[in-house]
Amino acid sequence: MIDDTFFWLGHPVDFRPGETFAAALRRAGLDDLGPAMGQLRGRYFCGIGACQACLVSVNGAAPVEACLTPARAGVQVTLAALPACEVHRVAS
């Protein structure tokens, strides 16, 4: 059934072709996607691209919603970087 792999923070995550990154992360037990804005955590919530809580970066590219984006084999996936305004807030 499972026949492909991507890498979440360097760790292999299996997925089935056609599945979203979010579905594969859920199966792997990866609900907590790491530190996000406002001391919250990156996480899956709405499943339809509306809440923007599951933004990930694929091979270092700009943020996309893990809940919408079909998983691809061999790519490196991380939580999307914090927006600049948050960095500013931490620094001030």
């Binding site: 059934m1 089935r16 072709p17 056609g18 599945e19 979203t20 979010a22 579905a23 859920r26 199966r27 037990g29 609900d31 907590d32 996607l33 804005m37 406002g38 001391q39 919250l40 955590r41 990156g42 996480r43 899956y44 919530f45 709405c46 499943g47 339809i48 691209g49 509306a50 809440c51 923007q52 809580a53 933004l55 590219a61 700009a62 943020p63 996309v64 809940c67 919408l68 984006t69 079909p70 999307a80 927006p83």
Partner: protein
């Protein structure tokens, strides 16, 4: 090169129904959809081979399959842009979308537009609703449809209305019944007190049989269905979540779960939509983004929108009336609202209100003196996060009402939509080239 008379945004039942009917009148349609397949949330495609093991409403499935067949026969009058996200409208009438497959922003200048971007779930803020492992019922359900697999570990379904019932039953059918299904309202009591609503509910035979099927599924799996029961707090626990609940008699109960699915109703997803009254260009909203009436009505509403647009473009089209069917969907929704009324907000100070930036109710209290939706937004940053207030506008409005500042949730967006609606990379913007004519005339 993109060629189209009409841009349809959203590949769920409303958008696809509109596209199919527009094509039948001879117009050329560009249909954009954010996912890699058509279907929207209701018909989220199963990725496995064979039929999806998750049971779905057979009537909806047949209707959807018929629409897909029409899409497949549409020929070159239909251009399908998948994995393309609507961003907004330029002042000069260019509709921009992020073509994520091509990694570039593209635009069209259509003669008319149908917006069919569906609904968005309402979830009442409770302490801990921002934690990983907490998701909307709809969010959990699309994953169940997509993978055919229930999430591993104990799960609790809570909130209000028909969707939690459907999802709980589908979980049970998938061999992973939830620990319980908690309904905030008391639908049976409410129905007895409001015979008119009960009667309206009974008039919708397909909805009734669907609900009874779900109830039977839950009963077989011995899933407790607790009415008048709500979640009061969620905490992170070593193995997942500790969910505290209280019922109508004040009895508390704690559930230890891996996943919590919440849902308190549906709202039309209207954030940032180009208005239907835009001068010059006919724009129609269709389906749940116009009015939440469900999947079946969305098809009718999409067809109605297609007719409006065809008329506006002076394209001959067959006359059809959709009022009766929309009205019966409206009756059913009203009956459901009477049985599961919208709850009042009761929010503790440390509860997260804004799920994007972690703003809490206490932060709102510190905003004393903010006298308008605009000030609450620009000074307090409520509804300013990446979701543009889709999940906090209602709570913010209610918090403001407590301090006697009254406005509608949509007022938080201001009078001008804030485009782009979704994250878009600078690289995709830089790759934009404005030389794609859209209209054939």
């Amino acid at each position: 090169m993109l060629q189209a008379d009409v841009l349809v945004v959203g590949g769920g039942p409303a958008g696809v129904a509109a596209a199919v009917d527009l094509i039948a009148t001879g117009l050329r349609v560009l249909l954009i959809e954010q996912r890699d397949r058509l279907g929207g949330a209701i018909h989220r495609a199963y990725v496995g081979t064979g039929p999806c093991p998750v049971r779905r409403n057979a009537h909806h499935e047949r209707r959807w399959q018929a629409l897909l067949d029409q899409v497949n026969q549409a020929g070159e009058r239909l251009t399908l842009q998948l994995q393309s996200v609507f961003l907004g409208v330029e002042g000069d009438g260019r509709y921009l979308f992020d073509d994520r497959l091509a990694a570039r922003v593209r635009s069209v200048r259509p003669r008319a537009v149908v917006m069919a971007v569906g609904g968005v779930e309402r979830v009442l803020p409770v302490p801990g609703w921002e934690l990983p492992g907490v998701a909307t019922v709809g969010g959990m359900q699309v994953q169940l449809k997509e993978t055919g697999e229930a999430p591993k570990g104990p799960i609790l379904v809570a909130g209000s209305g028909p969707l939690p019932l459907a999802y709980a039953a589908q979980l049970a059918a998938a061999g992973q019944p939830p620990l319980a299904l908690l309904e905030r309202g008391t639908p049976f009591g409410a129905a007895l007190k409001q015979p008119a609503a009960l009667l309206n509910g009974l008039r919708s035979w397909p909805a009734l049989t669907e609900a009874l099927g779900y109830a039977r599924q839950l009963w077989r799996a011995r899933v407790p269905y607790r009415t008048g029961c709500r979640v009061t707090a969620i905490e992170a626990a070593p193995d997942g979540l500790r969910v505290s609940t209280v019922d109508g008699r004040g009895q508390t109960r704690v559930y230890e779960v891996a996943h919590l699915a919440l849902h308190d109703g549906l709202d039309a997803n209207q954030t940032g939509l180009p208005p239907q009254t835009a001068a010059g260009l006919p724009v129609a909203w269709a389906g749940d983004c116009r009015e939440v009436l469900g999947a079946e009505a969305a098809v009718q509403d999409g067809r109605q929108a297609a007719q409006q647009i065809a008329k506006a473009l002076q394209q001959p089209c067959p006359e059809a009336r959709f009022d009766d069917r929309l009205q019966s969907a409206r009756r059913l929704q009203a009956a459901l609202r009477a049985m599961c009324p919208a709850p009042t907000l009761d929010i503790a100070p440390d509860t997260v209100v804004c799920r994007c930036e972690g703003l809490r109710a206490s932060g709102f209290a510190a905003l004393q003196g903010a006298g308008s939706a605009h000030e609450i937004r620009v000074v307090g940053r409520f509804a300013m996060g990446a979701c543009q207030g889709r999940f906090c506008a209602r709570a913010t409005q209610q918090l403001a009402a407590h301090t006697r500042v009254t406005f509608e949730p949509r007022d938080l967006h201001g009078s001008v939509p804030r485009w782009p609606l979704r994250p878009v990379s600078v690289a995709a913007l830089a790759a934009y080239a404005d030389n794609e004519p859209i209209s054939s005339r």
